[in-house]
Amino acid sequence: MSWSFRGSDMFSALNIKIGFYLALRQIRRASPWTTSLIIFVMILTFLNLVVVSGILVGLIQGSIDQVRTKYTSDVIVSTLNDKAYIENSPNIIALIKSMPEVQAISPRYRESGSLEANYKTRKDTDKPNTAPGQVAGIDPKEENSVTGIANDIVEGSFLEEGDYDQVLLGHYLLKQYVPIETPAFSTLNNVGIGTKIRLKVGDVTREVTVKGIIKSKVDEIALRTFMLDTQFRSMIGRTDGNVSEIAIKLKPGEDPVAVRDSLKRSGVDRYAKVQTYEDAQPKFLQDIVATFNMLGNAFSSIGLVVASITIFIVIFINALTRRKYIGILKGIGIDGKAIEMSYVFQSVFYALFGSAIGLFLVYGFLVPAFAAHPIDFPFSDGILVAPPDQTFFRVGLLVIATLVAGYIPAWMIIRKNTLDSILGRN
């Protein structure tokens, strides 16, 4: 009788083939309710992994996106810290406009100022109704082509050429929009469209009419007063065309970093700070994103452990109830490692199937739904941030966790004595 022993390796082609053969049939002929329940748990785990941290980060990302869209745009050129404005602005503006990557720009004048209402009716004993804030002089067409803030007008209308002594107010300047009373945050009371208010910038005071109210979650917009740049220049006495900041919107697909570097190479950084929208983000926002990411990962880890335990229990019970058949399989010569592979395949199937449905839900439904209907937080429109690379990394984590959670109980049952398994002995 000729006979030679062939060594057994878990990842041999034969064991993988037999493991897959068994797993496929076990899954196909398992109770649909059980399979559905396990996959449902996997979907929930996947959503927990991706959505929880995605929403946490999305709260801040929504804020960052809004600052980019409504204020800085893709690249922002702003006054150096030790200067009052950007020197040589006309040449810089001409240079920027000549760049092929640039779609639109909005040069802005900006100064600190204050607003006063009820000055006509106020008695000497009354407290003045004032609010501080930045005042910006803009070209309405250019500003709107960059930031589209005309769409954020909630009362009245946007500025137009020839709007003499008319202003737009950010909603944080008005009490009806911010009904809080703190000494550090004063707002204007009883001011609406058509109300005349006093605008003071430096030593110059002018009576202006409120033409529109802008509602924005970007502080730089919500706390600002906007007026025509031509009007504002005359107020601050600036005739040299030097502005305070220039927001630059790039054509789709253009790289802000490349444009920033190009401007710096052209020497613009000698006169102004040149930053991409990311450079201009306050560091605390980046810190919050990192912190929320960490928190999200912590919550996700709990979900991952729960999923692993679920799979462990499911596979353990499955293997335990099938112990006799596992014994028979080993008895008729089926390699224990092939049987282990069959459980690994089943676990991976549950994880992949659950993740696939989860991916569909996230990218086919949740991300578009959050984009269309962001969560309305006071400081941002919360979106769901789910970068594909991070999502697939989490799918990988889920698969590995389930694979291990499926393998361990299978290994525990399969390593038991073959005959004991067949006979149901402990």
């Binding site: 009788m1 006979w3 022993f5 062939r6 060594g7 057994s8 034969l14 083939k17 037999i18 053969y21 068994l22 049939r25 076990q26 196909r28 002929r29 398992a30 006799k324 058949y325 028979i328 399989l329 080993k330 008895g331 008729i332 010569g333 089926i334 390699d335 224990g336 092939a338 073959t418 005959l419 067949i422």
Partner: protein
């Protein structure tokens, strides 16, 4: 040829030691049909498990075709069971999630045969056993007799050197039992070595030889009683 020399099997449960096999000297020639009989607890199933490498003896020697089986590693025994042995269990032991065809094909696939070849062999074998129309049925969709026939086909489809059967008719009615024994006899006529444990005298008598066990020892051997 399968041979044992002074084979013992002892079970320990705490301080209680039970000696189930007490120095068995047994031999079965190639092509021989041997029945093992005895009352409950005599050790007949335990002996079958030793012979078929499903269990390890406590002491003694087990030699199969010149190979010292008692000193094989678990993986070597597994490979030996796959290639050289076939098993028919009392309760059929078909895998519930596999069809009749898949149950038979599985050991063939494990031996490295391609799916097409394994299925072809299995289909032919099942058809010969009168199960040609039951290929796609799960075990739950087969009668007891049909399940046992599938189990026999699974055990012999790869043409094993030895077919072991542990009370193969215990759960069957008379008619089904007769069909099963007819299959065994036909296999035996074709030269198949069969070692069968049974407590049913009429079926035991169909074998070339009956080995009687009592209290872990072979007490008698009767031959050619057919």
């Amino acid at each position: 040829m399968i041979q044992t020399k002074n084979l013992t099997r002892t079970f320990k449960n705490g301080d209680v030691v039970t000696e189930v096999l007490k120095g068995i000297d047994f031999a079965a020639r190639d092509g021989e049909f041997v029945s093992i009989m005895g009352r409950s607890g005599a050790g007949k199933s335990t002996l079958l498990y030793q012979l078929s490498l499903l269990d390890d003896p406590t002491s003694g020697e087990l030699i199969i075709d010149g190979h010292e089986a008692h000193s094989m590693t678990p993986d070597e025994k597994m490979q030996f069971r796959l290639v050289k042995f076939g098993y028919v269990f009392q309760d059929y032991a078909l895998l519930p999630e596999l069809t009749a065809l898949e149950n038979v094909a599985l050991p063939l696939l494990m031996q490295g045969k391609g799916k097409r070849e394994a299925y072809k062999i299995s289909q032919e074998a099942l058809t010969r056993a009168g199960l040609g129309k039951r290929l796609g049925n799960l075990s739950s969709q087969l009668s007891g007799g049909e399940q046992q026939r599938v189990a026999i086909v699974r055990a012999i489809a790869h043409r094993p050197k030895v077919l072991f059967a542990d009370e193969p008719t215990a759960n069957l009615d008379n008619e089904s039992s007769k069909v099963i024994m007819d299959i065994f006899l036909e296999l035996h006529r074709e030269g198949q070595t069969i070692i069968m444990v049974t407590h049913e005298q009429p079926y035991a008598k169909l074998a070339d030889r009956i080995v009687h066990l009592d209290d872990g020892k072979i007490v008698s051997t009767t031959g050619n009683t057919k």
